[in-house]
């Protein structure tokens, strides 16, 4: 299926102070095959995360469509699991409890024992068989992110969305987790979009790399096929005769847009500075903005965040619950 995921003319616009619509993302087109891993790379502020949050259904689409497995998306759903830079674990739950949140949702008719086995399976898959009863505060950042990955995969999503999932980790942990995800994707064949700044990470993990032009009016500038077989071995990839040419192609693209970031040149659509975090005039925080606020906090701050969440729009809570990022009980 060449078009398992179709992102068609995706546009995100925010009003500026005088009410004009500023197109942060303007006409983003991308088709993804079933089971394919596609990285999206570009300079900070180019709109990568904006695209991901629109695909996730966390950010309203101004125009265009996202079609996953033949269905046009209309909001967040467990068919598109998200792993953010911060794992956003619920601090009052163990790793087992955090993953169980999603399992309950997608296996509503399973028995208690079946659910337990499913949670244990996914935690084992990320190498946490011995840490199922640990609380977030008892785990390192890398371990917490493993729980976040297990929680996302346990949703049995049609599409996995990774938003700089290793951005806060040290190099060694980052490589470990890359291999954890690669192992899972090799086994589960989940269609995946990865947002990253890291050229080597993109080359190692992806089947294709989508390079974005600078925003505003960001779009796909170039797409690079990565011809390495799967499963991949890091050493074999590094020693592949094409590795440095492919890497060079990415760096050339990024340098081109970095050099011209503040100078409008070329066809007039690129070269201006932009910011993912443009949110218009601040009237009405969008769902994505609220999610960003919540997700942008260090794990240790989540307890405090859980108190503030009651002040947010009920939609935020609902979305967080759908993605297993929050637990909602009666009376809350």
């Amino acid at each position: 299926m060449d078009r398992y995921v179709e992102i068609v003319n995706l546009v995100k616009a925010y009003p500026n102070p005088v009410g004009e619509a500023i197109r942060v993302v303007d006409g983003f087109n991308l088709n993804i095959r079933k089971g394919e891993v596609v990285s999206v790379i570009g300079h900070s502020g180019c709109g990568k995360s904006t695209v991901l949050t629109m695909v996730a259904g966390l950010n309203a689409i101004t125009s265009g469509d996202v079609v996953v497995a033949g269905s046009v998306i209309s909001g967040a759903g467990p068919d598109r699991a998200v792993v953010f830079q911060s794992p956003c674990l619920l601090p009052w739950l163990t790793s087992f409890g955090n993953v169980m949140l999603g399992v309950k949702r997608v296996y509503p008719h399973a028995t208690r024992q079946e659910r337990k086995e499913i949670v244990e399976y996914y935690l084992s898959l990320v190498g946490l068989a011995d840490a199922m009863n640990k609380y977030p505060r008892e785990m390192s950042g890398g371990m917490q992110q493993r729980v976040g990955i297990a929680r996302a995969i346990a949703l049995k999503p049609k599409m996995l969305l990774l938003d700089e999932p290793f951005g806060r980790l040290d190099s060694l942990t980052r490589m470990d987790l890359q291999d954890v995800i690669m192992g899972i994707l090799n086994r589960e064949k989940i269609t995946t979009m990865v947002i990253t700044h890291d050229v080597d990470e993109a080359v190692y993990m992806s089947d294709r790399i989508c390079m974005m032009t600078n925003g505003p009016r960001a779009r796909v500038g170039q797409v690079l096929d990565i011809p390495f077989d799967r499963p991949r071995d890091r050493r074999a990839v590094l020693e592949h005769e094409l590795y440095y040419d492919l890497r060079g192609c990415l760096i050339d693209f990024l340098e081109k847009f970095d050099k011209h970031k503040h100078v409008g040149k070329g066809d007039g659509r690129e070269g201006m500075s932009g910011d993912d975090d443009v949110r218009g005039d601040g009237k009405g925080v969008e769902l994505a903005g609220a999610m960003d606020m919540m997700l942008g906090l260090p794990a240790d701050d989540n307890a405090e965040m859980s108190l503030k969440i009651s002040d947010m729009a009920t939609g935020v809570v609902g979305t967080a619950e759908v993605l297993s990022l929050a637990e909602v009980s009666d009376g809350v």
Binding site: D2, E6, N31, Q222, V223, L246, K256, G266, E270
Partner: protein, 366 residues
């Protein structure tokens, strides 16, 4: 530096060796060679005189049968008619480009290329992939561009991006000069390393639908084409065709049909005879809705080669660098045209047709 006539004339070291126009009969069963320009390869021209090919036979026949552009990186007896004569003229590759008038395939333009050691240049065909949201490289002929070619086959462009994507988006030929520094040419680093300076993208369409984008990539030392022009019609009428972009040797931009040129790096404006020949070929291509070839045109009077600024249609050159002289301060060996003695060996005008008229005409001359 003064022009030296002994430096010149036709040679066998041009990458582009020949161009031919094949007329396709009404029931699209055979193609007949009706015109050709062969430069120094006169024997090749004689050997091909009066050729008729049936669908599936030879290069023009392959285009006729498949109704898509066909690029041959090697010319063997089965794929290319008269391969021995071609080889004798140094021809190693060829491309066949279909021209459609509405539903009907009316003509095939065939262009042949040499590949002598030291030559640098390339021709690429980019076609729709992945539900046609991206263009990928499907076939290419490269001379001295191994590294550039190795990575290019993994690159894809969406509509509007890179030279192929831009030609696709506007539905007309697109010219980029100064490839190594170009913001619009996304493989500029590779182009700079390889010594490529000019890229020319031509959309090949069938009933307004893109079949492919053909790219010509030229180096300064051994260009596939020394002269590129884009003519566009705003309303589909031939009379409305206007030259919107052109180059010569360096980077230049023609701002009007009167050839007022303001250069960034150099300027490209031919002599009156050359420009008249190009204009006539463009009009004829538009009127006949067919490719048109031309050759042996004088480019004498060519001024403004090199670093300078042409300020009026009289092509007065204000030299800003280099020696003063006939060439506006250019160094002919670097400038290309000057080193060739000011004669065009061959060229063609290729129309991009749409249902209600002519969208554009791309001109290439060498």
């Amino acid at each position: 530096m003064v022009f030296d006539a002994t430096m010149t004339m036709t040679r066998m070291d041009e990458i582009t060796a020949a161009a031919e126009v094949w007329h396709v009969d009404a029931d699209e069963t055979q193609a007949m060679l009706i015109d050709g320009v062969y430069g120094a390869a006169e024997a090749l021209g004689f050997s091909r005189d009066g050729l008729v090919l049936h669908a599936g036979q030879g290069l023009a026949g392959a285009v006729l049968a498949r109704r898509v552009p066909v690029l041959l990186r090697e010319l063997d007896r089965e794929a290319f008619e008269g391969s021995e004569a071609a080889a004798a003229s140094g021809v190693v590759a060829a491309i066949g480009i279909p021209v459609f008038d509405e539903e009907k395939l009316t003509a095939v333009l065939v262009v042949m290329f040499r590949g002598n050691p030291g030559m640098v240049g390339g021709v690429e065909l980019w076609v729709g992939r992945r539900g046609r949201v991206e263009l990928g490289l499907t076939e290419a002929y490269y001379a001295g561009l191994e590294r550039f070619g190795k990575i290019s086959k993994y690159v894809n462009f969406p509509i509007g991006s890179g030279l192929p994507g831009m030609a696709w988006a506007i539905g007309a030929p697109r010219l980029i000069t100064g490839l190594g520094k170009s913001q619009a040419f996304l493989r500029s680093s590779g182009a700079e390393s390889a010594g490529l300076v000019t890229g020319f993208g031509v959309p090949i369409v069938h009933r307004n639908e893109l079949l492919a984008v053909m790219l010509w990539l030229s180096s300064r030392a051994t260009p596939l084409a020394r002269w590129h022009q884009v003519w566009e019609s705003s309303d589909g009428r031939v009379e409305s065709l206007r030259c919107v972009a052109a180059d010569g040797v360096g980077s230049g931009e023609v701002k009007s049909e009167k050839l007022k040129v303001k250069s960034r790096e150099g300027v490209g404006s031919g002599g009156a005879e050359l420009q008249a020949a190009i204009t006539a070929a463009v009009r004829e291509a538009g009127q006949r809705r067919m490719p048109v070839v031309f050759d042996d045109v004088s480019a004498q009077g060519l001024e403004g080669v090199g670093l300078g600024e042409v300020k009026s249609e009289k092509l007065k050159v204000k030299s800003v660098e280099g020696e003063q002289g006939n060439w506006g301060g250019a160094k002919p060996q670097a400038a290309g045209w000057g080193g060739r003695g000011g004669r065009v060996l061959g060229g063609f005008a290729l129309p991009v047709l749409r249902h209600d008229g002519v969208r554009a005409v791309g001109v290439m001359a060498w």
